[in-house]
């Protein structure tokens, strides 16, 4: 102050400061400009020129098909050669990117969430490493990445990206992404739910160069191998991904040779622009308006609580906006937070798989669609919050979207798939870790997560255990092959459980029971990571019911392999019978929510879970009674369900249907509904509360007001109320401390002679 400044001096000083700052960046964190943009890149000069010179649709279509075949071929190679269990069942994607980094052609199969996610790291490399003299992007280079904060689902997935040059000029990128599993996190298998900080989630690779002259850099590979529990897997799959990227490079180069550079560049960019235009056109055919949906995620994987995922989906003209404001705040020390870019990836997949499966597989499918979230919410979490189990919030967000989209689509004349109820959205599977029968340390997961039940269609039942929510085509793998590599067996596998069904006019596809037990290992353990044990994760559509809820069941302390030697008749191949009849003396029988942190499993202990059902469609009283009889014949439902839910009358011995009695039973139930139902306004008066009731550990907005966000109460921590514009992350107490406090309270009461 008081200093006299000459005009121009301030400008020169600012320029100096800017230059100094640019030259001395302390830390290149995720770039918000890159991470918040999911539109295709602005057209480059190379692309504009190419499109002007080559625009023959026949030629461009031929090239697109050629590159698509190349991506599919690379996918096959990766699936066949990849060492990761995830690779073997198709949990991967391959593709061709434009020089700017847009994913222009991706493999038809695999995990399409990646389709609108893995472009972020390519754009980071383009922006920062190309001009950096210590890094550079040259022919023969390739880069690796896994940190979701730079664009990914979670850091168990690793991407390799290889620049493709023509006459010394960068013209495209080849990419391959695989769910590798193990990543050196606090728990084995790559998806820790125990992580309370990002630093406990294992390797976090920002994009860096790991290949020069088409050769892996041994020093870096060695460092990575030392950072994970499966060093051989880390090395093998780096080699495989490099080989696959080189194959894609070969396909792009041969296309350039045959059709010329202009044609190839024009095909890549043109495909993106055409797709974006087509999406806008298709959206235009939907009715204008707003559809609302909410899903309660019933836990963080460490504890049960009510985590609100709130969606208002608005369509106006050719605009479509996902507005998730009012959803739960982020959790400072839980792994269930979703980064905005990961959320968009999952929503893109909704359209690629379930709405417009005929569209080209590229990121432009999501380009015209907007997403709004509250900062620091569970769907737009900050840099420091853990995200390894982001699925626990972005799967429910997907489901809210799937339910909302169906309400726009039903009456729309232009559809490309059946209208369906929500797909089952939880990954019921065993994550495992320990020493194998071959003496090797491993950490990974079973393919059974791909056995999710399909949602009921508007004109037929959902398919049982058909495909995961995140990929249209994926395998379950052969259990017998798994057992050659890992020391546990699935004693019960692929058995459909009675009444594990979302009821409706058309029922959801059902999931199967699994009972696993370890055998032949000096040290072995399991993890599970699902929500939906107290509140169903997957709702129905148009009057259909949701999936049931799913517990984790355990029987410990009775070695089942010994039981089989001495009293084999005591064993039942059924979770309900084992749990309800408790046949093994001295064993402990427990049921839990299905967020199990890594736990040692002794030989013969039983770990039991169930795959989930897709949502039901329509009123149960409209289900064709013949279909109910068929479900009885196939032992999908019990007599109680046929009688009490579907109101079907038949001879229980012969299953002979009595149509007239069924009609009468259903008419009586419709009459009963009218007698017990209250007019909406009267109902509202007795039902609705101003705030969440005090007994609910509730996170998110309440009712229509999205500006006030509630958090808690939980385990003695009182409820917080905050403004949605200034969210404070939620800090959860350690579940063990919560349990200790409860036990101490009981001891105190016992010491006072009171009854507990």
């Amino acid at each position: 102050m008081g200093k006299v400044e000459k005009p121009g001096q301030a400008v020169r000083e600012q320029a100096l400061i800017d230059q100094f700052l640019a030259d001395n960046v302390l830390f290149l964190g995720p770039d918000p400009e890159i991470m918040h943009e999911h539109d295709i890149a602005p057209i480059a000069e190379l692309e504009r020129e190419a499109m002007r010179r080559e625009s023959d649709p026949a030629v461009l279509a031929l090239i697109r098909d050629r590159l698509q075949a190349g991506a599919n071929e690379a996918f096959e190679m990766l699936e066949q050669m990849g060492a990761a269990p995830g690779a073997k069942w198709g949990d991967l994607i391959t593709g061709v990117y434009t020089a700017s980094g847009d994913l222009a052609v991706s493999s038809a199969g695999g995990v399409l969430i990646f389709a609108s996610l893995v472009h972020h790291p390519v754009k980071f490399i383009n922006k920062y490493w190309t001009t950096d003299t210590s890094v550079g992007v040259r022919p023969g280079d390739a880069f690796i990445h896994n940190d979701a904060r730079y664009g990914n689902i979670h850091n168990t997935d690793q991407s390799m990206m290889l620049p493709i040059f023509h006459d010394g000029r960068l013209v495209a990128w080849a990419g391959a992404t695989v769910h590798e599993g193990e990543n050196g996190a606090i728990e084995p298998g790559g998806m820790p739910s125990l992580a309370e900080q990002v630093y406990e989630e294992g390797l976090k690779m920002s994009p860096f160069k790991i290949v020069e002259n088409y050769e892996l850099k041994k020093d870096l590979v060695t460092f990575l191998q030392n950072s994970v529990r499966e060093p051989k897997l880390q090395y093998e799959d780096l080699k495989v991904k490099l080989f696959v990227c080189r194959r894609i490079e070969e396909r792009v180069k041969s296309a350039i040779e045959e059709f010329g550079l202009d044609a190839v560049v024009s095909a890549l960019r043109g495909g993106l622009e055409d797709t974006k235009k087509e999406v806008s056109r298709r959206v235009s055919a939907w009715p204008d308006g707003t559809v609302r949906s909410m899903i309660i995620a019933d836990g963080t994987l460490r504890e049960n609580c009510l985590i609100k995922i709130n969606l208002a989906l608005t369509k106006k003209g050719d605009e479509l906006i996902f507005d998730f404001r009012g959803s739960s705040p982020e959790f400072a020390n839980r792994a269930n937070n979703t980064l905005l870019s990961s959320l968009k990836g999952m929503l893109c997949q909704l359209f690629l798989v379930f709405v417009w499966p005929d569209l080209p597989r590229n990121q432009a499918v999501f380009a015209p669609i907007r997403v709004i979230t509250d900062d620091k919410s569970a769907l737009h979490s900050s840099y420091t919050t853990p995200n390894a189990q982001s699925m626990m919030t972005f799967f429910p967000a997907f489901t809210a979207g799937q339910q909302a989209v169906a309400k726009f689509l039903y009456g729309c004349p232009e559809k490309f798939t059946k209208v369906i109820a929500p797909w089952h959205n939880m990954i019921h599977t065993f994550i495992y870790g320990g020493i194998t029968q071959h003496g090797e340390m491993v950490g990974n997961l079973c393919a059974d997560l791909n056995g999710m039940g399909g949602g009921a269609h508007a004109d037929r039942d959902g398919e049982h255990a058909v495909a995961p929510i995140f990929a249209p085509m994926a395998d379950l793998g052969e259990q017998e092959m798994n057992e050659e590599e890992v020391p546990f067996i699935q004693i019960v596998s692929k058995k459909l459980m009675k009444d594990n069904q979302a009821f409706g006019k058309y029922r959801g596809g059902q999931g199967y029971e699994m009972i696993a037990s370890s055998l032949g290992s000096p040290l072995w353990g399991f993890m599970c990571s699902c929500i939906g044990s107290k509140i169903p994760s997957t709702p129905g559509l148009f009057g259909g019911y949701s999936s049931p809820t799913y517990p984790l069941c355990k029987i410990k302390g009775a070695d089942v392999f010994e039981v089989w030697k001495t009293e084999p008749q005591k064993f039942e191949f059924s979770i309900p019978r084992l749990m309800n009849e408790r046949p093994f003396k001295g064993a402990s029988y427990t049921s839990h929510h299905s967020g199990l942190q890594f736990e040692i499993a002794n030989r013969g202990d039983l770990y039991m879970i169930t795959q989930g059902s897709g949502g039901g469609y329509g009123d149960v009283l409209e289900r064709d009674p013949e279909l109910v009889i068929r479900d009885l014949e196939e032992e999908l439902i019990s007599h109680e369900t046929a009688r009490d839910i579907y109101r079907v009358v038949y001879n229980p011995e012969t299953l002979l249907l009595d149509r007239a009695a069924t009609e009468a039973a259903r008419a009586a139930e419709r009459k009963a509904r009218k007698a017990r139902g209250l007019p909406y306004k009267a109902f509202l008066k007795q039902w609705a509360t101003e705030e969440p009731p005090p007994h609910l550990p509730y996170y998110g907005s309440w009712g229509e007001d999205r500006s006030t966000i509630y958090a808690g109460p939980f385990a003695g921590v009182p409820r917080a109320r905050m403004n949605a514009a200034a969210i404070q992350p939620v800090y959860m107490p350690n579940p063990k401390d919560v349990k200790i406090a409860e036990l101490e309270r009981r001891i105190q009461m016992l010491e006072r002679g009171a009854s507990v």
Partner: protein, 144 residues
């Protein structure tokens, strides 16, 4: 023109009314929430999703927790069809889940013909379908 919006609801564009697609009951003005014209019943979720494990032995039984949520069942006051189910935390106000722009809907449908049941349900994905799009649809969308 009556435009189906869900399996059980349609909007009568001329009269601006929500109608029951089963019995034609006039549910209410289409510029308001359709739920206001329906009967509602809050159901203990364990009545539908019954415990598969013995609730006397276990906390987690495959049945949802009725202390945390209820199933709101919405019935047509005339024919008793269950039009919607809504799983809500105890006390949470129901969502105004469908708010369509009536004027835009009228404009959009001025050139459209009513849809068949099969068209409402939607086609099998391209490449799997045994059927072809109707002539009408082809015409409407320029023979896509």
């Amino acid at each position: 023109m009556k435009v189906p919006v869900t399996e059980y609801l349609e909007i009568d564009l001329e009269r601006e009314l929500w109608l029951c697609r089963r019995c034609g009951h006039e549910v209410g003005p289409a510029r308001q929430a359709y739920k206001e014209g329906l009967l509602v019943y809050a159901r203990d979720p364990a009545e539908i999703h019954k415990p598969i494990l013995d609730p006397a032995l276990y906390e987690f039984t495959f049945a949802p927790d009725g202390k945390w949520i209820s199933i709101l069942e919405y019935y047509c006051p005339d024919c008793g069809v269950m039009m919607e189910t809504e799983y809500l935390p105890i006390g949470h106000p129901p969502l105004n889940d469908m708010q369509f722009d009536l004027d835009a809907l009228k404009a959009q449908w001025s050139g459209r013909e009513p849809l068949t049941e099969a068209e409402l349900a939607g086609p099998d994905p391209v490449g799997m379908s045994q059927h072809h799009h109707s002539h009408k649809q082809k015409h409407e969308h320029g023979g896509r």
